[in-house]
């Protein structure tokens, strides 16, 4: 997904375009760029997130500009691949959202006619096609080119010697806003609301010219009128798409995030760094560290390869880990501690692998190879879908290293997640919401999940929460347990079940309120638990995925019950770029 924004009017356009792109950042934020038309065309592109305070941009006087914010799924984000793209002479610029399916043949054709391509994008073919048709009338040039394009697009074009922005839409969203002496185009309404509440929605096949006085529309070569509509939408409302919080929205994206990530990796060739692995060291922070601990259990269980998970900021205080493959796990790809661990691993000549959500981020440039988690932009500070995407990547690694033993579990993983989303957690929330302290316990792969459950709980509800290996409780923490400290216990069927049952029985005897996640049919658990939350039938992998989601929902609903600001917990930031 990408976002585009264009402005033509009486004000300086460049800062307005940057502000508009910032509104669209939820559609992607790994690179961005803009083109400003004064007498000449000026193009400025940058990798990374949009920053509004750029003196270069604010100096620009032009009153016409177009911009683009990108979320790369193919082709890394780089200055070359960022939009706008320009023709050979640098006098036409376009921004484009969508996919041109026949771009490879267009590119061959254009190259053979002497056009020089500077990027790997499909978009660049469009601008060279326009270049061949442009003789002062950009509208007819664009109209001549559109029939050649197969696929989807929303695009904006500007050119030296032409007054106005030309817009076209086929299959990707594009809205035009009409204000008093300006005309604005954007991928969605939210970016227009700073300027106007009067909008025109383009239909597929529409072409428009934008002037400060307003837009003119064409369809199939004929002028056409579209109704001007008034919107009274609140920006946040639109971007949340109906959910109360980004966190909940992202929790519900997890079935598709999991299967998209896992299936995309399974369709790729196995990377060289995953051949002949004798040991793995994972470095990560926060939630990614909890996922790494889980990876340790999974890989060791299915592949008999020793794995250790290290907190990235502690990595430098340990001896370099032998001949291990070093895997850096960071959602943003920019986490400072993880990056410095990765640099250190390279210094010691380790093979390195990055697991990240942001293609082209610093981690991907440092590592030998990257496994990409296709979670899409994560807005909520509390990580949810990126954790599940990391699990998908780790399950893929375990599958590769075990010769395919996890394949069927991976392919059905989204079902367990979907099933967990249907559970009603309100009795468990009732039990947790008034506590001043909570404990989460589990064994085996469910121990890191207990840590993650506690982390989610404390970061968004501000209730003190601790995760423990269930067997460790009696070595100290038991002194803290009482009727006022509920325990969330992960008791899936399997090897660890009898030991877990005896652990929670002891707690029960002290009157500790118990939320148990396990086999819903088990009479034993029903007798012990105050609230029994059923995990779906199936193997360890489906239990892990389901429990992950249930713990997220428990934290979320508890935070909502307590009236917390779920998406922006106090004192926390999304990506920690300082050590």
């Amino acid at each position: 997904m990408c976002g585009i924004f264009g402005y033509i009017g009486e004000k300086r356009a460049a800062p307005l375009v940057l502000a508009g792109l910032q509104r669209l950042e939820y559609r992607g934020y790994d690179s961005f760029g803009l083109a400003v038309l004064d007498r000449d065309l000026w193009v400025w592109k940058k990798e990374g997130r949009i920053s509004r305070q750029s003196p270069e941009v604010s100096r620009r006087r032009g009153r016409t500009a177009i911009g683009h914010t990108r979320w790369a799924t193919h082709g890394e984000p780089s200055d070359a691949n960022a939009h706008p793209h320009t023709d050979c002479k640098g006098s036409i610029a376009i921004v484009h959202n969508g996919i041109i399916e026949n771009y490879a043949s267009l590119r061959r054709e254009l190259s053979s006619r002497g056009h020089a391509f500077r990027s790997e994008t499909d978009t660049e073919a469009i601008v060279h096609l326009i270049e061949e048709q442009y003789h002062g009338d950009l509208l007819s040039a664009v109209m001549a080119v559109l029939p050649r394009l197969e696929g989807s697009y929303a695009l904006l074009a500007i050119a030296e010697g032409y007054e106005g922005i030309v817009a076209a839409r086929q299959g990707s969203p594009l809205v035009i806003g009409i204000s008093d002496r300006a005309c604005i185009a954007a991928s969605d309404v939210t970016a227009l609301l700073d300027h106007t509440d009067r909008v025109v929605y383009l239909e597929d096949g529409d072409v428009a010219t934008l002037l400060p006085s307003g837009p003119a529309l064409w369809h199939g070569g004929e002028p056409v009128r579209r109704p001007v509509q008034k919107v009274d939408w609140a920006v946040e409302e639109v971007r949340l798409g109906g959910f109360a919080h980004y966190m909940l929205k992202e929790i519900y994206e997890q079935p598709s995030v999991f299967s998209t990530t896992a299936r995309a990796l399974l369709a790729e060739d196995v990377p060289d760094v995953l051949k002949d692995v004798s040991g793995i060291t994972l470095v990560a922070c926060g939630t990614s560290y909890k996922a790494s601990l889980l990876c340790q259990y999974l890989v060791e269980e299915y592949c008999s390869i020793p794995v250790r998970a290290e907190i990235a900021s502690e990595f430098r205080y340990h001896a370099p880990p032998g001949d291990d493959l070093v895997v850096a796990v960071t959602q943003s790809g920019e986490t400072a501690d993880t990056l410095s661990a990765l640099k250190r691993a390279r210094m010691h000549n380790h093979a390195t692998l990055a697991v990240t959500n942001v293609l082209g981020s610093s981690a991907t440039r440092l590592a030998d190879h990257t496994l990409f988690m296709r979670a899409g932009p994560e807005i909520s500070v509390a990580a949810t879908k990126s954790f599940v995407a990391e699990l998908a990547v780790f399950l893929y690694i375990a599958d590769v290293l075990s010769g395919g033993r996890l394949r069927s579990s991976i392919l059905s993983g989204h079902e367990a997640i979907g099933e967990a989303l249907l559970q009603d957690l309100s009795p468990a929330v009732e039990l947790c919401r008034d506590a001043s302290s909570l404990f989460f316990v589990g064994r085996g792969p469910f121990f890191p999940l207990a840590l993650e459950g506690a982390l989610k709980m404390k970061e968004i509800t501000y209730i003190h929460a601790e995760g423990y290996a269930a067997g460790e409780i009696k070595h100290g923490p038991f002194a803290l347990l009482s009727q006022g400290t509920p325990v969330v216990a992960l008791c899936p069927p399997g090897e660890s079940f009898p030991a877990m049952v005896s652990n929670i029985r002891e707690m029960k005897a002290r009157g500790v309120p118990l939320v148990v996640m396990g086999d819903g049919e088990s009479q034993e658990l029903r007798d012990i638990a105050d609230v029994l939350v059923p995990l779906p039938d199936g193997d360890t992998v489906s239990a892990v995925l389901a429990a992950t989601v249930l713990l997220q929902l428990l934290a979320y609903h508890t935070a909502v019950a307590l009236g917390r600001d779920v998406d922006k917990p106090r004192n926390l930031a999304k990506s920690v770029t300082v050590e």
Partner: protein, 385 residues
């Protein structure tokens, strides 16, 4: 022009198919019913669309988000009727608007017919009017509306699609929309009856099958995925990306096969079949006139006809459905339906079992070699030993 789509109700009479989603999200030809409604509105240029979600609202919202529709969602917290659902959207209503059920099919031509008239309702003749709001019409205007009457006064029913003004809210007192319409008519206001062209509703699970037959041709034919040489693809067939049709298969359209499916080898997909995402149909199996939802597995040597198979259910090898037309008790009504099997979510049917016009609840396990008939409809979570 604004539009309010009511998608808050579960659609209880479609159980067991509504466990994880409301009726509005049940796919027909692999497209959720609500999508047909939204597409019809967009085709008429109506962009300001408000969806009222309630039962399993997160599923509704996630779906609308991933489909990328420009709609707003409001929530009805508790199931307190259709009029109450409409009231949830009131604060966003500033001009004339349409009200539409999100769980009935409607075509854009019908919407175009009704949208230009203030205070109008789309009506349609129906052979079994007693399941709907029956309308009496005089000189083109509705004089009376009776919800689900024992004795229907005629065959013309309300589709539940109204074109109204904001003043309509003054007539809402009772929980149901029909009561508000009655109050509206009782005050002497006029409601124009406009004939709908194509409108369809599924009341009971087996009604989804004829609806599937009618709508399955809507999408364009396309052949993505890997189709092995030597397979026969005939008629209007759509095959999704990443799907593999193995050698020796026959697919006769109209048929829709979603993405990520595995078909065959040597399997037959007969006309009027919709297979969702990641469905597996084993070797030597035949599936026809059926809706198979996401992640379901049809084992080898099976015969599935006139069936709806719920998400993630697994039929082992040599499972057969037998089509019959039993008299069934649904709630406190006795109804007749013709079908092979209605199977809920996450069901396991053992090898060599037969389903004879059977309704099988969610999560049911049927051991091998059993016969399940309509006389013994099984509730959720049951076990047939």
């Amino acid at each position: 022009m604004q539009a309010v789509i009511l998608a808050a109700g579960e659609g209880k009479r479609l159980r067991p198919l509504t466990r994880s989603r409301p009726k509005a999200l049940i796919p027909i030809g692999n497209v959720p019913i609500i999508d047909y409604v939204i597409e019809a509105l967009l085709a008429c240029g109506i962009r300001d669309i408000i969806v009222v979600a309630g039962y399993r609202r997160e599923q509704v919202i996630s779906h609308l988000n991933s489909a990328g529709y420009p709609v707003r969602v409001v929530v009805q917290d508790r199931p307190l009727g259709t009029a109450h659902a409409l009231v949830q959207a009131r604060e966003h209503i500033s001009e004339r608007f349409l009200v539409l059920p999100g769980d009935n099919y409607i075509d854009s031509e019908s919407i175009a017919r009704v949208m230009d008239t203030k205070d109008a309702v789309l009506v349609k003749d129906h052979p079994y009017p007693s399941n709907f709001g029956v309308v009496e019409i005089r000189r083109g205007y509705v004089t009376r509306i009776v919800e689900k009457p024992e004795q229907a006064p005629g065959f013309t029913i309300s589709t539940g699609i109204f074109s109204l003004g904001p003043d309509f809210f003054d007539f809402i007192g009772q929980p149901d929309l029909t009561d508000a319409v009655s109050a509206f008519l009782g005050s002497g206001r006029k409601l124009k009856a406009v004939r709908a062209l194509d409108w369809q509703d599924a009341i009971y699970p087996w009604d989804l099958l004829p609806m599937n037959r009618l709508l399955i041709r809507r999408g364009r034919a396309e052949k993505a995925g890997e189709i092995a040489p030597g397979t026969v693809l005939q008629g209007h067939v759509r095959v999704g990306a990443g799907t593999r049709v193995h050698p020796g298969c026959t697919v006769i359209g109209p048929a829709v096969i979603g993405p990520g499916c595995e078909i065959g080898p040597n399997a037959c997909i007969m006309p009027n079949t919709s297979l969702g995402s990641r469905v597996q149909v084993g070797p030597f199996s035949l599936v026809g006139d059926s809706i198979i939802l996401d992640d379901a597995v049809i084992g080898p040597h099976s015969l599935v006809r006139d069936a709806v198979i719920g998400e993630g259910s697994r039929l082992e090898d040599h499972v057969s459905t037998v089509t019959a037309a039993p008299l069934l008790e649904i709630g406190d009504e006795q109804v007749k339906g013709r079908f092979g099997a209605i199977v809920g979510e996450k069901v396991r049917i053992g090898p060599f079992s037969t389903l004879r016009a059977a309704i099988v609840g969610n999560g049911v396990v049927v051991r091998g070699g059993r016969e399940v008939t309509s006389t013994a409809a099984i509730g959720d979570g049951g076990l047939v030993i």
